[in-house]
Point group: C2
Chain length 400, copies 2
Amino acid sequence: MIQATNFQPIISDEVLFKAIEAEKESIGYYTLPFQDTTHIKEYAATVKQQCIAIIGIGGSTLGTYAIYSFLRDATELDKTLHFFESTDPLDIAARLKFIDIENTLFIVISKSGTTIETISIFKYLHSLIPMSAENCLIITESDSKLNDYAVNEGIKTFEIPKNVGGRFSVFSSVGLVPLAIVGVDIDALLASAAEVHDSFFSQGEDYHSLVTKARFLVENKKEYNINVLFSYSTMLEGFNKWYVQLWGESLGKVDTTGMKQGLTPIGLIGPVDQHSFLQLIVEGVRDKTVTFIVIDDFLCSSSIPKMTLRGLESTDNVNGMTFSRLIQMQAHATIEAIKELQDIPYDVITISEVNEANIAKLMYSYELLTSLCAQLMGINAYNQPGVEAGKIILKKSLET
Amino acid sequence: MIQATNFQPIISDEVLFKAIEAEKESIGYYTLPFQDTTHIKEYAATVKQQCIAIIGIGGSTLGTYAIYSFLRDATELDKTLHFFESTDPLDIAARLKFIDIENTLFIVISKSGTTIETISIFKYLHSLIPMSAENCLIITESDSKLNDYAVNEGIKTFEIPKNVGGRFSVFSSVGLVPLAIVGVDIDALLASAAEVHDSFFSQGEDYHSLVTKARFLVENKKEYNINVLFSYSTMLEGFNKWYVQLWGESLGKVDTTGMKQGLTPIGLIGPVDQHSFLQLIVEGVRDKTVTFIVIDDFLCSSSIPKMTLRGLESTDNVNGMTFSRLIQMQAHATIEAIKELQDIPYDVITISEVNEANIAKLMYSYELLTSLCAQLMGINAYNQPGVEAGKIILKKSLET
């Protein structure tokens, strides 16, 4: 009689789980949902300005923008958020038109404290309106040069923990402070992230679905080197951008054996990109996985009027329908078309309604998914050594 | 003595050129630079409204947005352009806040005339403010149902030629009419596109550089299935989006042998995406080509103040520099870092200054490049059969 065992994955679920648990010792983002936010809320309540302008780039802005742009149009926020993140002079000029500079709190966010874009823009704005404890707040590491500056000037600071990287920092002071100021319920954000955390680390439902997804993506990374996120709402454009950074910068790495690894993220917005990128997904090379994000309730009742236009009677089939329902139907028609092809790997994330809990759940889950993929790929998700060479070249050319 | 010929490309330069020349018989975009614009300029001069709102999606808006967003902040335009393109109800509500609905000309653009997003949004806006010859303009094919509607209502129309596809329509009435209204010099756009046309079809410099590029991209498409456009200015964000549609929708096709083809476009903006996607390019799998776009002159003299901040003295190396120069140096430092790696195919497009001629040259060249790649891949660049299945599913579900 022949006896055989089945093939086993190189990294078993048990080893994978232990590796992630071990990361909790050194990687700070896992436990951010459990922090005390009292001091943040107390500070936020004291802010008088109506415009809040963040000066920062990359991980200092993308997570905050994702949450803000998701909630902004669907909920009533108290203040407006603005982002100065590019050294493009025309971009700076254009953004200045949208703020009342005399009624603006400037929040300078830089983990290292010497990010060239951030400090250059800060100096420029400082030359337009003097920065002081009255109109400026600084979020940085406790021992950075920017922190020294804040101490010298008596400017209030919040700390970015050393073990929380920029792209994993949305639930640290980086995201929570500006979001609390504009009126986002940050405790609801954290409570929802904590739920995902607990379900994951008790190996509940979230754990199994994330591990299954991570294994699929990593095991098929040679065939499907592109991961498309097809989000059916312009409110998710910020989330898409955050995802692109999280995925690209975390997973584009040299692994422990010296091999270059990487999965390429692409963010699409439906239905607009049905008229742009969809053709490539449907008839192009099978090198993509697709994750659809569909919103069940936009909290918005506006609808297509029951209106017949002479000549355009054939379009009356959507008369009376809410736009919310139309966009859902468009999403599901696209999903159905992809499903019928049978050779494009896809999954669907449904967001029940637009609120703090759901965006936090989505983002914390994606952080965990990223950590799982990195473990399976044998890479470090939390550094970014590849961007140093350009910085060194820039520094040298500035010296000459 | 042994005699040998060298390997020859499957499609010789001669055959390729003849194929493109033959396309001019049936594909309309090639000769758009030579049209008479008198009637467009005459109409544009009569428009009284200050806000111009385009209702359209995909090819009806992306090219116009690319040119408008490139020129908007650097030049003095007379009016503002707004885009209603998504059925997302919160997006519609947000965009309404930016226009003065009583002082807005609505331009409905749909080639087929029955695009569901466009007509639904049109009806909705029509319910907010009645549309008439006074505040509405329609751009569509001459025999579409939308054209019937316009004729019935006495609304002025401009025609989209049948043989000009949406993503190749920027130099037709689709782009020229709204751009002329807001004050863009459309003759300068066309003159520059005509120059590229003439150089290309006389097999001059533009021809040889585009053919070389197209051959490289197509011959290496299996290894490098992703084409990144890394544009160093937020003004090029619209161009990036237009490129993504042009490239994805034109080249994602089944070829004459039944094989699925496709090159995947990605648009990045520098320096912001140095803090996001660059790590993946540098250390990730070698599956990408990169085209950098660098602007020489932003026509903007704002600079980093000569300001020393206590604690931040180490950042004084950029003091006194214009932002325009800083962003250029950032671009060139990144290019240099990529060059040093020696295993990432890249090229650099330099835009001398921000004006009509340069954006038109860039866009017309990319249209030609797309046509060349499609010929080399054995596909039809000008249709989009892959998006029909979803439309049919949506139509069926609307009937039930």
